[in-house]
Amino acid sequence: MFTEENLKKLEALKKQYPTSRALTLPALWLAQEQFGWLSEDTMKYVAEQISVPFNHVYSVASFYTMYNKKPVGKFHIQVCTNISCQLLDSEKMVEFICTKLGVKKNEITSDGKYSVSEVECLGSCGTAPVLQINDDYHEKLTAENIESIIQSTSR
């Protein structure tokens, strides 16, 4: 199920790590990058690939919040609702984005394009409020620029 390229990456990783357990987090990242989220089947597959029990992979995937245990949209929008952003109304931004996209928090739009969730401090508190679309940061959010940020993804 892993692409050729990812299989190669995994092989390279195996050389770096002294135990197979230590591969759990990086292997799950590879899987998440390729499949977008981690289903139980994917976790089983990962467990086989790195020869550790499924239970172990499952407990790691459940412990860490940034592993998606549910499908996410092609554009996964994560809004920081931590302290500095909250002081500058980020919770309203979440509501605004959800209304705009017609989707609830932690769910995906029917076309599979967007999902919205809250995230802890992104370390951009100086330019709060902040959101992340996949790996890209967008800061100093206002109702107006959110609109153009979302639009820019549909291009």
Partner: protein
């Protein structure tokens, strides 16, 4: 390298990048070509300058002229005026709030001039993706000095003498930690850099890594050499920082190419390499034992620390874990000497390593101050200087209420204590802590009960659940705070909050639980009257806790100024607003759920909160 008459340093820290600094770079390059200045002016991308609130930023060297809030449309004028005619463009310079005359030079702006740079010494001056830039600024010189002229013991002695203390929160003396690790049995040891930085409101480490990744690496190599028997180092970076991860990977690759990492470094028979490990979104993984569990591929649960990680850490081997900022200080101490380092800061560390706070501390200033961003100040500076001089005071002319230091483990410090000097001991004394350096400023519009609730909710969410006092105790406390902000609190609840706090502090397994009550305890201590107002008068003085408020519409304003615009009615989730367009609107108190939406949406301030 070619010499240019002018260097245009475009900030490419995350803050500026998200404010389109790459477009500024492209526009500058285009315009320079258009004006045929390619041989005179060079555009360079740098790491974060720290003045994130004013991005995108540009500094024109060698004069250090500082431009802010740039737009691509400003560029032709800037090139024409400054690059060709040599006249800085006034309207693009920084003007202090409430003043009229702009300050052209970066080093004359109070935000920058009152700082002392050690950890951030290269900020804005180098391209972080280019090792040559780092070397040109004296980078890897400390490593050369160590490997060619110092024994591991001499290096350790120098760090011990400097009095450097951990910048990751606890302020543990670095030299003492290194020494214990060095003495521990084992011929395979590890050094780790903690770049998990999960404290809300903190972004120092991110900026350091993104702006100067080689400095961290150099510090770690020196540490590995001093501790001995260390062949592998790890950098644990939180997944939320994609750019920091990338910069580290580039830097490590370059260091390997230059023979600074790997086998036989500097031909001295010394082998050491570093790898990056990514976290996956768990605040508790910043805690030392949880972090090591995570590198080992397990859920990040802390363990009891009767056995120290310096003796049995990663894979049960002696492990020395230090914070990003701690590592970055190391090369400078080696180069300039421990005497120089101890000349900055407070107290005396010559006998007792806990006897003072030496050097500088980087703080990230966020919340309601004018100049949000990253500042590095000497230990011993006052909070007032940081907030009012460097931070430029409170936004929108509002009144200061409290400053929160130390994130969810720290506390709120009131106005009366603003002249407190910033060092490890002083901050702990007042119930807060240095923490990793987050500094969040709140103003009169913030409710302290609500803020305490906020932080507790964070720790409650992030509690790993392994021990009961932290898992259940914080839940109980949160319930009580909810009750208070909903107007159902009693005097007994305040006492119960204190009792629960003490229980959690005393019996939690790790410091996450152990310090979780601090935000509640400090607000109870310094802002008790706000709690009492919620409990006794059923009022929120800052009008934040909606449930305690009564909403009414000022008929006159609604009709005469707002012309009964009807907007509030559309937003009211409970159909509590009665009225038609162009007529007076009323709120039916029986239906109103006190959500506060009408207050937020009325453009004419016709909705009153009591």
């Amino acid at each position: 390298m070619k010499n240019y008459r002018l260097q245009l340093m475009v900030c490419a820290g995350t803050g500026c990048v998200s404010n389109h600094s790459f477009e500024i770079k492209d526009a500058l390059e285009k315009e320079i070509e258009k004006q045929n200045l390619q041989n005179e002016a060079q555009v360079v991308l740098t790491g974060c300058n720290g003045f994130c609130g004013a991005g995108p930023l540009l500094v024109v060297q060698p004069d250090g002229i500082f431009y802010q809030l740039l737009k691509t449309t400003d560029i032709p004028l800037l090139v024409q005026e400054h690059l060709i005619k040599g006249r800085p463009v006034k309207k693009l310079l920084y003007t202090p709030p409430e003043e009229k005359i702009p300050i052209p030079k970066m080093m004359d702006i109070p935000f920058f001039s009152d700082q002392t740079l050690i950890a951030l010494r290269n900020r804005g001056l180098i391209d972080p993706e280019n090792i040559e830039d780092y070397i040109a600024r004296g980078g890897y010189k400390a490593l050369a000095k160590v490997l060619t002229s110092m024994t591991p013991d001499e290096v350790l002695a120098e760090i011990k003498a400097s009095g450097l203390r951990g910048r990751g929160g606890g302020g543990f003396p670095t030299g003492v930690k290194w020494e214990t690790c060095k003495r521990a049995h084992g011929d395979e040891k590890y050094v780790i850099c903690n770049a998990d930085e999960g404290d809300p409101g903190a972004f120092m480490d991110r900026s350091i890594i993104e702006g100067d990744p080689h400095a961290v690496i150099e510090g770690m190599i020196i540490g590995a050499y001093a501790i001995e028997n260390v062949r592998q180092g790890y950098i644990y970076v939180r997944m939320e920082y994609p750019l920091a991860i990338k910069r580290f990977q580039i830097a490590i690759k370059q260091a390997r190419e230059y023979g600074l990492l790997g086998e036989n470094i500097f031909d001295k028979g010394f082998n050491f390499d570093i790898e990056v490990r990514r976290g996956a979104g768990a605040f508790v993984c910043g805690e030392s034992t949880a972090l090591m569990a995570s590198i080992e591929g397990r859920p990040g649960e802390p363990r009891a620390k009767y056995i120290h990680t310096v003796e049995k850490g990663l894979w049960e081997r002696p492990t020395c874990l230090n914070n990003v900022e701690t590592w970055v200080n190391v090369p400078q101490i080696i180069l300039k000497g421990s005497k120089w380092f101890t000349s900055i800061g407070t107290g005396d560390v010559s006998i007792d390593p806990w006897g003072g706070s030496k050097g500088t501390k980087v703080f990230s200033l966020a919340g309601k101050v004018n100049n949000t961003g990253l500042v590095e100040v000497p230990m011993g500076i006052t909070l007032r200087e940081i907030i009012y001089i460097i931070g430029g005071g409170i936004r929108d002319g509002k009144k200061f209420k409290a400053v929160q230091t130390g994130g969810p483990s720290g506390g709120f410090i009131p106005e009366s204590m603003l002249d407190l000097t910033v060092d490890f001991e002083e901050l702990t004394k007042v119930g807060s802590m240095m923490g990793s350096g987050g500094m969040v400023v709140t103003d009169e519009g913030n409710c302290m009960v609500d803020m305490a609730k906020y932080f507790l909710k964070f720790t409650q969410d992030e509690s790993c659940g392994k021990c009961i006092p932290c898992r259940e105790g914080t839940k109980r406390m949160l319930d009580i705070l909810e009750k208070i902000t909903n107007g159902d609190g009693t005097e007994e609840d305040l006492i119960l909050l204190e009792e629960l706090s003490n229980m959690i502090v005393e019996s939690s397994l790790c410091a996450l639980g152990g310090s979780a009550p601090n935000p509640v305890l400090t607000t109870l201590k310094y802002f008790r009257e706000e709690y009492e107002a919620h409990v006794n008068d059923k009022k929120c003085p800052a009008r934040i806790c909606c449930q305690l408020n009564t909403y009414t519409i000022d008929e006159k304003i609604c009709l005469e100024i707002g012309h009964g615009c009807d907007v509030c009615k559309k937003y009211c989730p409970d159909g509590a607003i009665i009225g038609e367009i162009k007529k007076v609107h009323y709120i039916d108190p029986a239906k109103c759920s006190k959500c506060g939406a009408c207050y937020d949406v009325c453009n004419f301030n016709a909705v009153n909160i009591q």
